[in-house]
């Protein structure tokens, strides 16, 4: 017979003896490969567009070699081109807003 404790537990907690494995994806919706690949490519493009500064920082941190020089040069040109139209400012502004919130109320 279930005790009051057990009944109150059931309201909040999983079953008394949960299964060994709970599949967190069991009821998730599905999409075909082409659409998922399109979404990933779009995400990468948006990141390259708005995150050109992060891309440049990453290229700067690469070990020095002929390949990394080429990558760095390309990342620099890309960042410069976007800076001329002010795109990286969006990420900078987001960061500045967050830093203001972080420093709010600090002496």
């Amino acid at each position: 017979m279930a005790t009051l404790f057990d009944r109150s537990l059931e309201k909040f907690a999983p079953r008394a003896m949960p299964p060994a494995v709970i599949d967190v994806m069991a009821d998730a919706g599905v999409a075909p490969f082409r659409r998922v690949a399109g979404a990933i490519v779009t995400a990468a493009a948006v990141m390259a567009l708005f995150g050109s500064e992060a891309l440049l920082n990453w290229a700067n941190d690469l070990p020095i070699s002929a390949t990394s020089d080429t990558i760095l040069s390309a990342a620099q040109s890309w960042h410069d081109a976007l800076s001329r139209v002010g795109v990286p400012e969006i990420a900078t502004e987001l960061r500045a807003t967050f830093r203001r919130f972080q420093g709010w109320g600090k002496q």
Partner: protein, 469 residues
């Protein structure tokens, strides 16, 4: 290679297209994923890929022996050897110096001197996780949960699969092996949920866990004597949420990445700080480990058979669970405290099963459980007992002005705590809303969210806490 880095993003971008490109040829797909997983592991230290391969060979071979042997006694013996070999590898790399030092100290305190050797080896990242995967493979074969031994490449992928390789979740062989053998359907990728888990994980790790560490927890634990009770209380709340956000972030990203490659992983966290008791807490915290310890250690020890044995088995399981986290006595004490409290909870529930019901009871139960868990986190986080006791002593130092309680820190701590009480079906609700948006726009939004998370985060990413285990 850490998940929240551009290196990993580029790595995954390539692996995603190669793996799905090879999906018509299952064997090729498996080898693509194996190659990617070994490359991922080699990024830390290429020499340890030999250890990974060695572990795979041992477990694959022992699996075949266990399956081929006739007679229960022989099979049991073979499983025992397999478990011992796995634990020996773990023992050498993770625990040898700990036991050697402890024994040296003990002998020194008794007035004798032994000078036991010290091994100068680095701890291979993820060794505790892939050792448990190896044990799971052999034991699942022995128990008949796997019908026959898997081909070598399948065992190789199971033990090395990169999303779960370094910090779990601990995926059982009986759950994962059939997925390797099955042909993935490119028409059924669980992408929306995967994107949500990855984005949520990035937010939890890059923003919440990192700032809790740098702006609160690291300072509080470095020198607890500098702070008063309120700051130290905030520090331990902060650590409770930091370790949750850090570890559950890793798990969420791992589950999401695996789902994009067509694999399913088990749930590992379920809002643990809303637990009503410690038994409930362990059904919500690191579920893949606690259920693994229950099924592969607690039950083989005898489980709940008889009062005395139950408490003994519980204590052994929790002490070893503590030691699994790290080779230090602070982790043993952490496990021991949980073991004692779990035993007490079992005992109380047996003696006085009729307890007050209703909201008040639940609120008190949640409050007490959360604070007990926080208390034990002090031992888990402190570098040694001296720091742990300084921290505990500081919690009685009332009246000192608070140095940490800025609006930002309070928002992080209490916001992350409040998120524990969101509806359990929150992910389904968000997914239902997001799926109404065209998938290309979903991708664009995901890309922008990642840029924003990167902008909010501090420069540089600290490794995940569970990498050291």
């Amino acid at each position: 290679m850490l998940f929240p880095t551009l290196n990993f993003g580029l790595f995954f971008f390539v692996v995603f297209f190669l793996a799905w490109g090879a999906s018509r040829w299952p064997a090729l797909r498996i080898w693509v994923l194996i190659f990617a997983s070994y490359a991922f592991y080699a990024f830390w230290d290429w020499r340890f890929t030999a250890l990974l391969l060695g572990s795979t060979i041992i477990n694959w071979g022992m699996g075949r022996i266990v399956h081929a042997l006739g007679g229960e006694r022989n099979r049991k013996r073979a499983v025992g050897i397999a478990v011992a070999l796995n634990l020996a590898v773990l023992g050498v790399f993770k625990y040898f110096n700990f036991f050697s030092e402890s024994l040296n100290d003990a002998l020194l305190s008794l007035g004798s001197r032994a000078d036991l050797p010290y091994l100068n080896v680095a701890l291979p990242v993820g060794i505790s996780f892939f050792t448990f995967h190896g044990i799971s493979y052999v034991v699942d074969l022995y128990r008949g949960k796997l019908v026959r031994p898997a081909p070598f490449s399948h065992v190789m992928l199971y033990i090395s699969f990169f999303p779960q390789l370094v910090a779990g979740p601990i995926v059982r062989a009986s759950f994962f092996m059939p997925q390797i053998a099955a042909r993935p359907d490119p028409q059924e990728i669980k992408a929306c949920r995967a994107f949500l888990l990855i984005l949520g994980g990035l937010l939890k790790k890059v923003v919440i866990a990192n700032y809790l560490a740098t702006d609160l927890v690291d300072d509080a634990f470095f020198d607890p004597t500098r702070y008063g009770a309120l700051d130290l209380l905030l520090g331990v709340y902060g650590y409770a949420l930091q370790i949750y956000c850090d570890f559950s972030a890793y798990t969420d990203i791992a589950i999401g990445v695996a789902a994009l490659l067509g694999f399913r992983f088990p749930q590992n966290f379920n809002q643990p700080y809303r637990a009503l008791g410690l038994q409930d807490f362990w059904r919500r915290w690191h579920i893949s480990l606690s259920s693994w310890l229950r099924d592969y250690l607690y039950i083989p020890l005898g489980g709940n058979t008889g009062d005395w044995r139950r408490y003994r088995n519980l204590m052994i399981t929790m002490l070893l669970g503590g030691l699994w986290h790290g080779a230090a006595w602070t982790f043993v004490i952490w496990g021991g405290l949980h073991g004692i409290a779990l035993s007490l909870e079992h005992w109380l529930r047996q003696r006085w099963p009729r307890t007050l019901g209703g909201r008040t009871w639940r609120a008190i139960a949640i409050f007490v459980t959360f604070h007990f868990v926080c208390l034990t986190w002090i031992f888990f986080r402190a570098p040694d007992f001296e720091h742990a006791f300084l921290y505990l002593g500081g919690l009685t130092r009332f009246g000192a002005p608070t140095q940490f309680a800025s609006p930002f820190i309070l928002c992080l701590v209490f916001g992350a705590l409040a998120a524990q009480f969101l509806p359990p079906d929150r992910m389904e609700r968000i997914e239902a809303a997001v799926t109404r948006v065209p998938i290309a726009l979903q991708g664009a939004l995901a890309g922008f969210c990642i840029v924003a998370i990167d902008a909010f985060g501090p420069s540089g990413i600290a490794p995940f806490i569970y990498f050291q285990f």
